[in-house]
Amino acid sequence: MRKLREFIIEKLVLLCGLASIFFVVLIFLFLLREGLAVFKTISPSAFLAGKSWYPISEPPQLGILPLILGSLVVTFGAALISIPIGVGCAIYIAEIAPKRLKEILKAGIELLAAIPSVVLGFIGMVTLVPFVKTVFHLPTGLTALSGSIMLAFMAMPTIVSIAEDALYSIPKTYKEGALAMGATHWQAIWRVMLRAASSGILAAIMLGIGRVIGETMAVMMITGNAAVIPHSLFVPVRTLTATIAAEMGEAVIGSEHYFALFAIGIVLFVISFAINVTADLFLHKRQ
C-alpha cells in the first residue's frame, strides 16, 4: 500500500516536472503548425526580407522587414538608455547605498516590475507621448523614441535585479584585495568588480533586451503602429509584437494573414529562446 503510494507520487511529481519541457515544446509545435502554412504562398526569404506589410490587400503582401526593423529600432533605443542606467542602478544598490536606502530602492524596482504593462502604456500615452511631441517639435509623439523610453523603463527591473545579483555574488576578497592595494572604492568597482561580474551583467542585459523585444501592450499604445521601414527614432513604427496583438483580432482563422501572424510568433519565439539559452549559459558560467 505504502510502496504503491510512494511510487505513484514519484511518477506524478516527475510528470509535473516534465510539464515545463512539454509546454515549451507544445508552444513551439503549435506555432509551427499554424505558422509554417504561410510558406506555401511566400518563401521564407521574401517573408523575412519583404519590404511591405499589407496583409489585407489583394493579394496580401507579407514582408515583415518593416516590423523587424521597427522592433530593432525601438529595442536599440531602449538598450541605449537602459543599459547604462540599469547597470548603474545595480552598482549603486549592490555596492554603495546604505542598508535603509538599499531596501527602499529595491522596493521601488519591485514596484515597477509589478505595474501591468497596459497601465504603463496608458500613462505613456497621456504623459510621455505629448512630452516627446513638444520637446522635439514632431507632428506626433507616437514614435519609436517614445517606445524606446518606455521600454527602457520597463526593462529596468530585469536588468537591475540580475546585475545586482551578479555583483553581490562576487567573493568579498576581490574587492578587499583591490582596496588593500590602495584603490578607491570606485576604482575597485570599475576595474575589479565589474570585470568579475561581467558574465552575470551580460546575462542581465540580454534578459533585459529579451523583455524589450517581447513587450507588447505598452509598445503598441505609444509607437504609432505604422508598418513602414523606419529611418529615424522620430517616426512612428510598428513592432513584431504589436503587429500580432493589433491584427490577430481581425484576421480570419485559416487565412494567409492568420498564418503570417503565427509565423511572426515563430520569429519571436526563436529570438526569445536564443536570448534565454545564451543568458542562462552566461549565468551558469559564473557559478
Binding site: 511529481v13 516534465l18 519541457i21 508552444i27 554603495i96 521601488g108 497621456v126 570606485w186 576604482q187 509584437t241
Partner: protein, 281 residues
C-alpha cells in the same frame, strides 16, 4: 584627475540613475492615484459600462479578471508545486534536470503575445473551447507556471536538509517527509510566489487578447465557456479604441487595475516579512 574626485562624480551619477527610476515610478503611481481615486465610486465599481463605455462602471471587467486569475491559479498551482517538489526533492543532478530548468527559463522568457497565439491555436481552435474563460485561464496559467515553480522551489530548498534526514532516520518515507516536514515549512514561500503569480496574471493583456477578452459585454459569465471582459483589456480598449472616453473613467480603470495588482504584491510582501520574523532555524 584626483581619484577621489572621480569617485565622488561617479557615485553621484549612480545615485542620480536610481533617483531617476524611483522618481518615475513614484510619478506613475502618484498620477494614477491622484487622477484615478476621484473616479472611484460605488457606482463605478458595481455598474456595467454604459453609452459605449463612455459612462457607467467596470463591474464586468473586475469580475472577469477575478475569474481568469482564479482559473489560472487553479491550473498552475498544483502543477507548479508538484514540479517544484520534483526539482527540489526528487531530481538528480543530470541532463534531464538541466533540461527542465532550461525549459522553465525559456517559458518565463516567451513574450506574452506569443502565449496569446499559443492559447488561440491550442485552446480556442484545436480544442474548440472558443474564446472563453477556460481558454484564457489555461493560457495565463501556463504563463505564470515558471514563476510559481521558481518561487516554490526556492521555498522548498530553503528548508534545512537536516530536517529531512531526521525524518527519514525515524523511518518516515520520502513522501511522508515531504508532506509533514518540508511542505509545512515552505508554505509561506509558496504562498508568496503564488500571490505574485496572481498579480502577474491579473495585469497581463496580450495573452487574453485572442483567448477570452470581450470588447464590450455587459453581462456576467454563465459558465467557463463564456467570454468575459477583463480589466487590462478594458483599459486598453477605452484608451485606444473608443474615442471621447472621459479621462476620469480611464484613470479610474487604471487605478482599479493597479490597486488590484499592488494589493496582491503587498500581501505577498507581508507574508514574506512575517515569515522572516517567525523563522525558527
Amino acid at each position: 584627475m584626483n581619484p577621489y574626485r572621480t569617485q565622488r562624480i561617479a557615485f553621484f551619477l549612480l545615485f542620480m540613475a536610481n533617483a531617476l527610476i524611483l522618481l518615475l515610478v513614484g510619478f506613475v503611481v502618484v498620477v494614477i492615484v491622484q487622477k484615478g481615486l476621484p473616479a472611484i465610486t460605488w457606482q463605478f465599481l458595481s455598474d456595467v459600462p454604459r453609452q459605449g463605455m463612455r459612462a457607467g462602471g467596470i463591474f464586468p471587467a473586475i469580475v472577469g479578471t477575478l475569474y481568469l486569475v482564479a482559473g489560472a491559479i487553479v491550473f498552475a498551482l498544483p502543477i507548479g508545486l508538484l514540479a517544484a517538489i520534483y526539482l527540489s526533492e526528487y531530481a538528480k543532478d543530470n541532463l534531464l534536470t538541466r533540461l527542465i530548468k532550461l525549459a522553465i527559463v525559456n517559458l518565463a522568457g516567451v513574450p506574452s503575445v506569443v502565449y496569446g497565439l499559443f492559447g488561440l491555436a491550442l485552446f480556442v481552435v484545436f480544442f474548440k473551447f472558443g474564446a472563453s474563460i477556460l481558454s484564457g485561464s489555461l493560457t495565463l496559467g501556463i504563463m505564470i507556471l515558471p514563476l510559481i515553480i521558481t518561487a516554490s522551489r526556492e521555498a522548498l530548498e530553503s528548508v534545512p536538509q537536516s530536517f529531512r534526514e531526521v525524518s527519514l532516520s525515524l523511518g518516515a518515507s520520502k513522501w511522508q517527509t515531504i508532506r509533514h516536514i518540508v511542505l509545512p515549512n515552505a508554505i509561506p514561500g509558496i504562498l508568496t510566489g503564488t500571490i505574485l503569480g496572481l498579480g502577474r496574471a491579473a495585469g497581463e493583456t496580450a495573452p487574453i487578447l485572442f483567448t477570452v477578452a470581450a470588447f464590450y459585454l455587459p453581462l456576467l459569465p454563465g459558465s467557463i465557456f463564456d467570454q468575459v471582459m477583463a480589466l487590462p483589456y478594458h483599459l486598453y480598449v477605452i484608451s485606444t479604441q473608443v474615442p471621447n472616453v472621459d479621462e476620469k473613467i480611464r484613470y479610474g480603470t487604471a487605478f482599479v487595475l493597479l490597486a488590484l495588482v499592488l494589493f496582491m504584491n503587498l500581501i505577498a510582501i507581508i507574508i514574506r516579512y512575517k515569515f522572516r520574523m517567525k523563522k525558527k532555524w
